[in-house]
């Protein structure tokens, strides 16, 4: 089945690595964990095992962050991964679940319409009508299943879930039980159960977590890539994969433009130029790595279909403009200022400056 899948689950895609790690791991494991916290961290960050197996890095970022995340799950506190869009929150949560309990599918996708049933349990109404409330008529949700099986449940985009539904997690996280009043029973979480939630901290205000719920979480903020090199690397690799998926003809010599896009994004995001000499204003958009990837992909499509097959400044200029100028009034000034005070003066960026002026800054 996995062969046909467009995107296999983490535990399937990296089954070999997980097996090798579990085999090599002799450190103490928390109850029902497939491996020790140390091995989980190694699985995410990559490394080499004594038997020669190479573990590919799943997450490129500070070790500290992964350690805190894994440790949190080991202390039976729930984990909240925060970050701007495109910082691999979901990716990290999936791999954590896959490494710890070998199952990353106990997933609740949070939306504005997520009902309480999606988190706790629903009913098989045919059964319910025919036989009345019973365990057989109960349809357990992913969280309930994780509790019963001692696994890791995941909630995506927790801040999009309506507040009353969010709060149904409080009992689960503090009492580690889920009462089923209709049956007069409760489901008690088995050791090993825990929960990973992700949330976008750009639109925190959508449904801010109540402080009662927040208190149950340890929060880990996933940062944007710390160095230009890391980010260029991530963008280049993703762009290549995407380009192949979209059947774009390969475009050589794209590295320079990628570096340029990444530099522009980083400088605007950080509010300071890469050499640390000039401060610039930051626009309202997020300018995450994910957006840099889409700008470059768009530019590649332009270059491949309408250009001469080489990625040029003009191909990415329009994409950058669109990514930066989200608020037509304020962001336009920010962008113009950046163009005039930074791009204009930078040697070797003449073509880029001209291209940006052309697309109408």
């Amino acid at each position: 089945m996995t062969e046909q899948a467009l995107r296999p689950h983490a535990e399937d895609a990296f089954a070999e690595e997980l097996k090798a790690l579990a085999a090599a791991d002799d450190r103490p494991r928390p109850a029902r964990w497939n491996m020790s916290p140390w091995a989980v961290a190694t699985y995410l960050l990559g490394g080499a095992l004594p038997d020669g197996t190479v573990i590919t890095p799943k997450y490129v970022g500070p070790r500290r962050i992964v350690e805190v995340a894994v440790t949190t799950l080991a202390t039976d506190r729930a984990l909240l991964l925060l970050g701007v869009p495109g910082t691999a929150k979901t990716w990290v949560s999936e791999h954590l679940a896959a490494a710890i309990s070998g199952d990353s599918t106990l997933l609740v996708q949070g939306t504005a319409g997520t009902p309480e049933e999606a988190i706790r349990y629903g009913w098989n109404y045919a059964q319910l009508l025919a036989h009345g409330p019973s365990r057989d008529a109960l349809v357990p949700g992913p969280v309930l299943r994780a509790m019963a099986g001692g696994g890791i449940a995941r909630v995506e985009e927790l801040t999009r879930v309506p507040a009353d539904v969010q709060d149904s997690l409080i009992t689960i996280l503090s009492e580690k039980t889920l009462p089923i009043p209709e049956l007069g029973e409760e489901v008690m979480a088995v050791r090993g159960f825990n929960l990973i939630a992700t949330a976008n901290d750009r639109d925190r205000g959508v449904n801010e977590l109540s402080s009662a719920l927040r208190r149950r979480f340890n929060t880990v903020v996933l940062p944007l890539p710390s160095s230009v090199e890391d980010e260029v690397d991530i963008v280049a690799r993703r762009v290549e994969q995407l380009g192949r998926a979209l059947d774009l003809p390969p475009v050589p010599h794209g590295a320079d433009e990628i570096r340029r896009v990444v530099t522009v994004f980083r400088e605007l995001r950080d509010g300071i130029t890469a050499d640390g000499r000039i401060k610039v204003k930051s626009p309202s958009g997020t300018l995450s790595t994910a957006e840099a990837i889409s700008v470059v992909t768009g530019g590649l499509a332009l270059a491949a279909h309408f250009g001469d097959g080489r990625l040029r400044a003009a191909d990415v200029a329009a994409g950058i403009l669109g990514a930066v100028v989200r608020d037509p009034a304020a962001d336009r000034v920010v962008w113009r200022e950046y163009l005039e005070s930074v791009v204009r003066e930078r040697s070797g960026w003449k073509d880029f400056y001209r291209a940006c002026r052309e697309v109408g800054a």
Partner: protein
């Protein structure tokens, strides 16, 4: 280990390793673990005298340590008499082993002796070193291995070389001033031998980015590069040990190996023995490890040690662990004496000054090299349960900031920290684990609160105190000295002082007064005469009020000389200034006070503020003052290059931001913006001399404003058109077209009147000379409907009231005469048609009459002849 016995035989080690007579307690400076161990060792061995690595001059003031008013963090400040700029500091925190030893001694009535090289020698040597730069560059024996140390310190570079002692040193190794208390063994030296006392804690952030800025006025003797170069050569013993233990971070190794251990005490001397043998191995391998000054310092220590052993018998020495092997080494008294012979000397004075945790921290650029004095203090003072106590303190701080933190948070944070330590394989949760746990549990992963915690707890805000009986601060002495050389006596009587800045003495006086002004010592107030006269004259009202002496004492925290203190104060003021204009004002004052050392910081703050300020009118408000500073800097000959760069950057930002900011303004807003438009226009003209593209860009802005539709207020559009016209960047015909558009019937009369006001204000000669424009105004005014006329009248009146009466009359006459025929005439009519508004053709007779005078004014040849011819 040594063989001989003390101290008699001329040959043999200083330290007969007599376990009952001499204890060498090698420590890591400012290490709480070391401090605790020192206390335990002293308690158990009870020596008759305590020797401490530090300048012997401090013996005289060490008695003050018994005074409850002397509360750490404090520092010993040594400065050269007559040259307070040459100073060195030895900071002590509550958790410093040296401080613990001093307190133990004073509490037990045991004498304390300092045994390091006297400050008199080290200050002189340091100055000499600075004077001989080539030596400094070749000689890696800079006191401390840290780039963040003295030499990388922005203000620490500046001993005027010519003031250095000129005698030769016995050999290459010239000890560094106050060289390290901060011994190399921890890689994070503590003492900051500074040659210039500018305590920086007021501006903790500016150390790092600033490093390398040469101190005001004084020739920069070392550059940070020197320090880095030499740091590269020198051995960091702690790093070597840490590497051997498989750690990549020396600090962390030290924490794990020493600070977090040693609570269980069987033999209080055991940690010292272990550390000493490690150091011994290192010194065997690396010799002096590149610390060439150490030979002299250690010779001196050995001599003092011998004396003490002879005098007292049972001796404990608290010194950097690095020195322990050297103190044990075989060395003859004569050899040591020979090393010390002929050292240069200055008269040095010592006093206690209050210190802060912030200054101890490495990031202040002036630190003892410890990142986390607050944490160390906690480690030292917490009797047990270090992490839970720490978390409770963090929770207390957060609660005080109205951030809800419950006991449950504290519990979870402690659990997380301890589990993290286990995951990372550390024996005990350290600051790193505590920090990560606090961030994840208490701070929702944000960076804001951890920054606060770092500031308040990890570094801490402890401020030491010093009793009044401590000797006076050097700043006051420097002021007295400067007053004497400038022949400017402090007098209580009010008097006026006129200065001609072209004379050196007067210029120096002006600088002194401006600097004192920056320090809040308002001795002189700028007088009245200053405005009208040229830029080379200044007038001051001088009056020395008694309370100014108090102000000087207060300003002592900023530095040891007026210049360094004013520099530090200006930097701090810039960092904390409220608005952009505040920073520009400080920039102006820095130029007046000639504080180039402060300028880089001020400029950086200015550029940052300007970049982040979204309010164009604030930017526009700041530009004129800045450009004035640029010009004034030029006049004074100070280097205003950086200032110019910032001003041009500011102008660029204004060019970008101004057009959108002009849209949709109300009447008051438009009026304010018009003022900015004029101000920026003048500033750009002044600035653009060397920067033609800027002028072009500004003209582009004006042109786009002038050509806007009615969303931009008429006042602005009219003004923009006028400014362009005055600069000859707009054809008169085009101006007429714009006016025609603005005054066409479709425009609301009020709006049109505002346009006219913008266009005409500041001079109506235009109307006199260009009848076409006059005709347009006239035609529009007569066409204004009656009901709108009363609305428009005040605006028109205001506009015309500004004109000279002559212009007003001429305009009136022209209007009364009515529109002239054939393009209008002012002068007599000739054959050919003239420019619009002017008479046809030239009147050669009248033109010639002007030429001779013009020639004379321009200094062209033949001027005199012309004039004579004229007379003839």
């Amino acid at each position: 280990m040594s063989t001989g016995t003390l101290p008699g035989p001329p040959r043999g080690s200083v330290a007969g390793d007599d376990a009952e007579r001499l204890w060498l307690l090698g420590v890591r400076h400012h290490g709480p673990g070391s401090a605790r161990a020192v206390r335990a060792a002293l308690d158990s061995r009870r020596p008759d005298v305590v020797l401490i690595e530090g300048p012997p001059e401090a013996d005289a003031v060490v008695g003050l340590a018994a005074d409850p008013e002397l509360r750490p963090p404090v520092a010993l400040l040594a400065h050269a008499v007559g040259d307070p700029a040459r100073a060195a500091f030895w900071p002590f925190a509550r958790f410093s082993p040296e401080w613990v030893a001093i307190r133990w001694a004073t509490d037990h009535g045991v004498p304390v002796r300092f045994i390091d090289l006297p400050a008199a020698n080290s200050l002189a040597l340091h100055a000499e070193r600075d004077a001989r730069q080539e030596l400094a560059e070749a000689d890696p024996a800079e006191a401390d291995a840290e780039p963040a140390e003295a030499d990388a310190d922005p203000a620490g570079e500046s001993v005027p070389p010519e003031e250095g002692a000129q005698r030769d040193t016995p050999e290459g190794g010239t000890p560094e001033a106050g060289a390290e208390f901060g011994v190399p063994e921890d890689g994070t030296p503590d003492i900051v031998p500074r040659t210039d006392g500018t305590p920086e804690d007021g501006t903790p952030e500016d150390g790092a980015p600033e490093a390398g800025a040469p101190e005001a006025g004084a020739p920069c003797a070392h550059t940070p590069q020197d320090a880095e170069d030499s740091a590269a050569v020198r051995v960091d013993p702690l790093a070597v040990l840490a590497r051997a233990a498989g750690y990549d971070d020396p600090e962390r190794w030290w924490e794990d190996a020493v600070e977090h251990r040693g609570r269980e005490g069987d033999d209080p001397l055991a940690p010292f023995t272990a550390l000493a043998s490690a150091m011994e191995a290192l010194r065997e391998r690396y010799g002096d490890g590149g610390h060439r000054d150490d030979a002299i310092r250690e010779a001196h220590m050995r001599l003092r040690l011998r004396e003490a052993v002879k005098e007292f018998g049972r001796v404990a020495v608290v010194c950097g662990a690095w020195h322990v092997p050297a103190l044990r080494a075989d060395a003859t008294v004569t050899a040591d004496r020979r090393l010390l012979r002929g050292l240069p000397k200055v008269r040095a004075e010592l006093t206690w000054v209050p210190w802060t945790h912030r200054r101890l921290a490495r990031r202040s650029g002036y630190g003892a090299g410890i990142d986390s004095p607050g944490w160390y203090d906690h480690l030292f003072s917490a009797p047990d349960r270090v992490v839970p106590r720490w978390m409770t303190a963090v929770a207390g701080l957060l609660r005080a900031q109205d951030h809800p933190v419950s006991s449950a948070h504290v519990i979870e944070a402690v659990r997380l920290a301890e589990t993290l330590a286990a995951l990372r394989g550390r024996p005990l949760a350290g600051l790193g684990e505590a920090h990560d746990a606090v961030r994840a549990v208490m701070c929702d992963g944000s960076d804001v609160l951890p920054a606060l915690i770092h500031d308040r707890l990890v570094v801490g805000e402890d401020l030491g105190t010093v009793p009044d009986s401590a000797p006076a601060v050097p700043l006051a002495r420097d002021l007295v000295r400067t007053q004497r050389t400038l022949r400017l006596k402090p007098e209580a009587a009010d008097r006026q002082l006129d200065l001609d800045l072209r004379s050196d003495n007067d210029a120096a006086r002006s600088r002194l007064l401006h600097r004192l002004g920056l320090l809040g010592v308002e001795w002189g107030r700028p007088g009245e005469a200053r405005q009208g006269t040229g830029t080379f004259r200044e007038s001051w009202q001088l009056c020395w009020e008694p309370e100014l002496s108090v102000r000087v004492a207060e300003a002592g925290v900023w530095g040891t000389t007026v210049e360094s203190a004013a520099t530090a104060r200006a930097r701090d003021a810039a960092e904390t200034a409220a608005g952009l204009d505040g920073v520009t004002a400080i920039a102006e004052r820095c130029l007046l006070a000639d504080l180039p050392g402060a300028l880089p910081t001020v400029m950086r703050v200015l550029a940052d503020r300007a970049a982040l300020d979204t309010d164009v009118s604030r930017l526009a408000g700041a530009l004129p003052a800045l450009v004035r500073s640029v010009r004034y800097g030029d006049v004074r000959g100070t280097d205003a290059g950086a200032l110019r760069e910032v001003a041009e950057g500011l102008a660029t930002r204004i060019c970008v931001g101004l057009p959108p900011a002009c849209a949709g303004l109300g009447e008051d807003g438009a009026r304010e913006m018009r003022g900015h438009l004029d101000g920026v226009h003048a500033a750009v003209a002044l600035l653009a001399g060397a920067h033609e593209p800027l002028r072009g860009r500004w003209a582009g802005v004006l042109r786009s404003l002038a050509g806007r539709d009615a969303t931009t207020p008429g006042l602005i559009r009219g003004r923009a058109a006028r400014l362009l016209l005055d600069d000859a960047r707009l054809e008169t015909a085009e101006a007429a077209r714009l006016m025609g558009l603005a005054l066409s019937p479709g425009t609301a009369p009020r709006e049109a009147a505002a346009w006219v006001e913008g266009f005409l204000s500041g001079g109506g000669m235009l109307l006199v000379h260009d009848e076409r424009l006059l005709a347009l105004v006239d035609g529009w005014l007569t066409g204004v409907p009656e009901e709108a006329f009363t609305d428009v009248l005040p605006l028109i009146r205001r506009t015309f009231a500004e004109f000279d009466s002559g212009v007003r009359r001429t305009v009136g006459e022209l209007v009364r005469r009515g529109p002239s025929t054939a393009g209008g005439t002012v002068g007599g009519g000739g054959g050919e048609p003239g420019a619009a508004g002017f008479g046809a053709g030239l009147d050669p007779g009248r033109a010639d009459a002007v030429l001779p005078t013009l020639r004379l004014l321009l200094g062209l040849p033949g001027a005199a002849r012309d004039l004579e011819g004229d007379r003839a």
